[in-house]
């Protein structure tokens, strides 16, 4: 995060000597003291590790089918500690690759949400007037759409697949961030230091990027950390209904959906992916809570 570093440097240079701790060091300190947040971060890092190094960690390729090992229970066969699925693929490998799907969707959706939401929100907040009116009405009318239903419709039009799922979820995910950014910019815009910058002849874009956004960054960051699990949920939900990620790419949601038909006997098919989804969502939420508490000292009591 370069903007994060830039904001940190701003504070550092204004405070002068390096004895002072920067805002970000302070926040990191508070974050690391929060046990739940550290626990969440551990989970998130673990899943990120699995996602990045899935090719090295997973014992089998995700799409390798063993016709003679269909629907084996965990520890039934020495090579498959979590059993095999309904067509004879190693379940552990599919879970590991499923982390890659979830993390990719979660992070990509939030990245797109920021790319759309932050510029639109800051423009609306800074310009005010007609620009604000048009953008705000647009945001309002988007809120009237049931987001998940809309994603379902879009996916059924475009067909499944990871990029399409990402775009379908992005269509509604930027709204919250745009609204948040607008509110932040709106409240910061009248501050003295912005007036000072304006008097010095600093241009609009530079004021937004260098002066307003770094100060509006913390709530946006918190919103992102809550947005990632929401996107993971969206992907899992679509795939659960059978219209998200296409076979043979593994997705936890799809594994849960398929397992529903086998749950009476082959409980492992349902248990492992549900635990994975739940852990991922909990992990990101703990990190989000921790970030909010760490970045906003006023919240502390």
């Amino acid at each position: 995060m370069t903007s994060e570093a830039a904001a940190g440097m701003n504070v550092a240079s204004s405070s002068g000597s390096d004895k002072h701790r920067t805002l970000w060091q302070d926040a990191a300190r508070r974050f690391l003291r929060n046990r739940l947040a550290v626990f969440g971060l551990t989970i998130v890092l673990f899943f990120l590790f699995l996602a990045i190094f899935a090719d090295l960690v997973a014992p089998y390729p995700y799409d390798k089918v063993y016709f003679d090992r269909v629907l084996r229970m965990p520890f039934d066969l020495p090579g498959h500690p979590l059993g095999t699925d309904e067509v004879g693929r190693d379940y552990m490998s599919r879970l590991i690759y499923g982390a890659r799907t979830s993390m990719t969707v979660g992070i990509a959706v939030q990245a797109i949400a920021c790319l759309i939401g932050v510029p639109l929100g800051s423009l609306a907040g800074y310009m005010g007037g007609r620009t604000d009116f048009v953008i705000s009405r647009f945001i309002d009318s988007m809120t009237a759409f049931p987001g998940l239903m809309f994603s379902i419709l879009i996916i059924s039009v475009w067909g499944g697949g990871i990029t399409k799922v990402i775009f379908a979820l992005s269509i509604t995910s930027w709204i919250g961030i745009a609204r948040l950014t607008r509110g932040q910019i709106l409240s910061l815009r009248e501050k003295e230091y912005i007036e000072a910058a304006r008097c010095l002849g600093v241009g609009r874009n530079r004021i937004i990027v260098r002066h307003l956004l770094p100060n509006a960054l913390t709530p946006i960051l918190v919103a992102i950390s809550f947005g990632i699990p929401a996107a993971i949920f969206g992907e899992a939900g679509l795939s659960f209904l059978g219209i998200g990620i296409n076979d043979p790419i593994p997705s936890w949601g799809k594994m849960v959906g398929v397992s529903n038909a086998y749950v009476r006997v082959y409980w492992h098919l349902a248990l492992f992916p549900t635990v994975a989804v739940a852990l991922a969502m909990l992990g990101f939420s703990f990190v989000g809570d921790g970030l909010r508490d760490a970045l906003d000292p006023k919240m502390m009591e």
Binding site: L148, M149, V157, F240, I243, V256, V263, A278, L282
Partner: protein
């Protein structure tokens, strides 16, 4: 005199505000209908595809003409809207051509409404109770358990909770049925315990909203308990019960109205998952099968219905909010 004219102005403001909101609701529905209609007709594969039903070309042409699918899209849209607005006719579902869309929705709606209503009751009843209890016994074990449940309910998706319940109570303990929904009236009156197939769907479905409600209630109770008027009430020597019901709860429940506005719309879409897991034949299940079958009239009607209910709840909670809490200024936020 002065107060009555002030009331009149307030009433006028309110009326204008509500009128404006209703107009924007109609506009939203209009936009939803256009977007849905045109998106839907882009869905690859029509409802009468060769792979599904290999027909001679003449027969296929006949069917397409019968349903108006041979005309250009904008004509199809205009025809559709004309029927909807003038005759409340949403067409014929392709999956069951012997009935109408409205009849099919009317049939399956009851089950979804039962699921939703029971869930709302359970979520609000239990959520508020837990929230109050947690606020009165801060940092006790019940408070901690409530916080934990709230965390779980807010973050873990309902279909995950549903599968856990199935694994434990239906597969492992064999106490409850795996799915289904007994739609008889006696279930609603006698509670879910008579119809045991109600328990798991309602619990899985209610956990999320329950968590949000418990959290909101606790936070706002704690906030109100610190206010001056609560201290005054205590200093006057009022009983604990009076203070709780007359002073604290009344004020603490105001923010709950906003929670209502968040929860109810989400319940509408959440039903899809619950109905899929527990094999309940409600609207949510129809929505999924309609999408798989490219049943345009059905998808369209369901989408309009949900968008309508969705915006209606937003409107209602906003009005309720201004009505309950006089501090909220009408239109101060510009409807944002």
């Amino acid at each position: 005199m002065a107060s009555s004219s002030r009331l009149q102005i307030l009433g006028q403001l309110m009326a204008r505000y509500i009128l404006g909101r209703i107009l924007s609701l109609i506009l939203v529905l209009f936009v939803v209908s256009i977007v849905t209609f045109f998106l839907m007709h882009q869905v690859p594969g029509g409802p009468f595809d060769e792979t599904k039903a290999p027909l001679p070309p003449a027969a296929k042409e006949n069917i397409l003409r019968k349903y108006g699918l041979d005309k250009p899209i904008h004509v199809q849209y205009l025809n559709y809207m004309k029927n909807v607005v003038l005759r409340f006719d949403f067409g014929i579902p392709y999956q069951q051509p012997t009935t109408t869309v409205t009849a099919l929705i009317a049939k399956s709606w009851k089950v979804t409404a039962q699921v939703g209503l029971t869930t709302v009751l359970v979520a609000f009843g239990l959520g508020i109770t837990l929230g109050i209890y947690a606020a009165y016994h801060q940092n006790s074990w019940i408070d901690n358990v409530t916080t934990f449940i709230a965390m779980l309910g807010i973050t873990v998706p309902s279909f995950v909770v549903a599968l856990w319940l199935i694994l434990f109570f239906a597969v492992r303990l064999k106490w409850l049925p795996m799915g289904g929904w007994n739609a008889s009236e006696s279930c609603l009156i006698g509670g879910a315990f008579i119809c045991s197939d109600w328990i798991m769907p309602v619990v899985a479905y209610a956990l999320g909203p329950l968590a949000i409600i418990a959290r909101y209630t606790r936070a706002s109770m704690v906030d109100v308990m610190r206010q001056d008027f609560t201290r005054t009430a205590k200093a006057k020597g009022l009983g604990n019960r009076t203070i709780m019901f007359r002073h604290i709860l009344r004020n603490a429940l105001i923010p709950m109205v906003t929670a209502l506005g968040v929860i109810i719309p989400n319940l509408l879409t959440g039903s899809i998952f619950i109905e899929a897991v527990f094999r309940i034949n409600g609207l949510g299940k129809f929505f999924v099968t309609s999408i798989f079958n490219r049943d345009y009239p059905m998808i369209m009607a369901l989408f309009l219905l949900i968008a309508f209910l969705w915006s209606l709840t937003y409107l209602f909670t906003d009005i309720l909010y201004t009505w309950i809490d006089p501090r909220v200024r009408l239109g101060a936020e510009g409807g944002a």
